[in-house]
């Protein structure tokens, strides 16, 4: 696997937009270079009713950054007495990551969210020092991100309903990780709609 720090643990995540729904999916592998140690390491964390973030990269930083972000969002909710919005969440994440600009965390992040009143969807893609993209239709991070991007562009259609969105996201993820030896071993897909969040666990190739 070489000495590339971002592929030391492996892992991948994908986010896609639909009509008043967003999906975010990740694989479940936890490994150390070649060796797979566990297949229950999900990389998606919830920060509010309709705000989710996926972190991919070095596993220790995945855990640390998700916990540090949770600390900041908890304080925000206590002070402001209201739940987070996706735009606020990605701004907090940018800030957290840029604080370590010259000794960065080795995680790339995806922020997804939905406004339950207006149905507006948000998908943002962040690098490891806090550069955030615009609100995009499709974003992927991780060791298999290039392969999943290709499939995602193929399966994406504008204004998909939640079932079509789930199918497109799962197929893009499951088939993309087949070309990467550092990710896979199962997947988890969250489909976020105005009134509910559906979590589905997928069993893919266990290789």
């Amino acid at each position: 696997m070489g000495d590339d720090i971002l592929s030391y643990n492996g892992g991948v995540a994908l986010a896609m937009k639909g009509k008043e729904c967003v999906a975010i999916a990740c694989d479940k592998r936890y490994g150390v270079q070649n060796r797979t140690i566990a297949t229950n390491f999900t990389k998606i964390f919830q920060y509010s009713d309709h705000c989710f973030v996926a972190f991919c990269g070095l596993a220790t930083d995945v855990q640390t950054v998700s916990e540090r972000l949770k600390f900041r969002t908890n304080l925000y909710e206590l002070r402001e007495q209201r739940k987070l919005k996706p735009v606020v969440l990605y701004n907090m994440l940018t800030n957290l990551l840029y604080e370590r600009r010259f000794g960065p965390y080795f995680v790339f992040a995806l922020v997804v969210g939905l406004d339950p009143k207006t149905g507006e969807t948000y998908v943002y893609d962040s690098d490891n020092i806090g550069a955030v993209s615009d609100n995009v239709n499709l974003a992927t991070v991780g060791t298999a991100s290039e392969y999943i991007f290709g499939l995602g562009e193929l399966f994406f259609k504008p204004n998909m309903n939640s079932d079509e969105l789930f199918e497109a996201t799962s197929q893009a993820l499951l088939n993309g990780v087949d070309r990467d030896s550092a990710s896979g071993w199962g997947a988890v897909v969250y489909v976020i709609e105005k009134d509910k969040v559906t979590v589905r666990e997928l069993k893919g190739r266990q290789d």
């Binding site: 592929s7 492996g10 797979t36 566990a38 297949t39 030896s181 550092a182 266990q206 290789d207």
Partner: protein, 242 residues
């Protein structure tokens, strides 16, 4: 050429070596995504003798770093009609070795007017690996059937060793199944027991090793010839779900 020994030092060769060395700066200038990792059959290969022949098996993944170049590789390469080699290590090196040895054995069988012995095939492979031991990264298993000694498995690992073993493993995935072998292999197993052993071993290694994956390719070599079986992903035996 030993630089410190004045009797063997050749100034021209030394200069040439310097000029043809890759620039160390390339490592810093070229971004890591574009630095090509060598293609390797980071792999799991298994071979076992039974009474009457051998059963050999391998996974089907070829990777370059983390990228899976081929999901359905054939690592069971025939050297002659009834002698196969299992390749692990650098894909280029092992393919080159297999090609050269196939030619050598073809020539030899024309000279001797009979199929070559498995030991001879293994020795040809071993000779190449030993001769280029500082350059090659090739761990190979040579297995087959011949009239004289029946089914035989020979292991030719990295440095250029040759040893006959009743059962042997190779490749990066083998580290995960040595324990399985020690626990489950018994001498004088029947053909079906050996087949199950090989298939289960490959499946276990595929599950744990990142460089092994895909399906399992198995070949049964005996006096009647070679029977090839491809076990696709869904048909692999069920193992503990991690």
């Amino acid at each position: 050429m030993d630089v410190l020994n004045p009797m063997t030092y050749d100034a021209e060769e030394d200069q040439l070596r310097d000029r043809t060395k890759y620039s160390q700066m390339d490592k810093h200038i070229i971004p890591v995504e574009f630095q090509q990792q060598p293609v390797s059959t980071g792999t799991t290969i298994v071979a076992v003798e039974y009474d009457g022949g051998v059963i050999i098996g391998a996974d089907t993944r070829t990777s370059a770093g983390t990228f899976v170049m081929n999901r359905f590789t054939d690592k069971l390469t025939p050297l002659t009609d009834q002698i196969f080699c299992l390749r692990s290590g650098s894909a280029a090196d092992t393919q080159a070795i297999a090609q050269v040895v196939t030619y050598q054995l073809d020539f030899l069988s024309a000279e001797m007017n009979e199929p070559p012995l498995v030991r001879i095939a293994a020795n040809c492979v071993r000779r190449m690996i030993y001769q280029y031991r500082d350059d090659f990264l090739a761990g190979m298993i040579v297995a087959g059937w011949d009239k004289k000694l029946g089914g035989q498995v020979y292991s030719c690992p990295l440095g250029g060793l040759l040893v006959r073993q009743p059962v042997t493993l190779g490749g990066s995935g083998s580290t995960y199944i040595w324990g399985y072998l020690d626990n489950n292999y018994r001498p004088n197993m029947t053909k079906d027991e050996c087949y199950d052993f090989v298939l289960k071993g490959i499946t276990l290694a595929i599950t744990r090793d990142g460089s092994s994956g895909g399906c399992a390719r198995i070949a049964i070599i005996n006096k009647d010839g070679v029977e090839r079986i491809d076990v696709l992903g869904n048909d692999l035996p069920k193992v503990f779900d991690l």
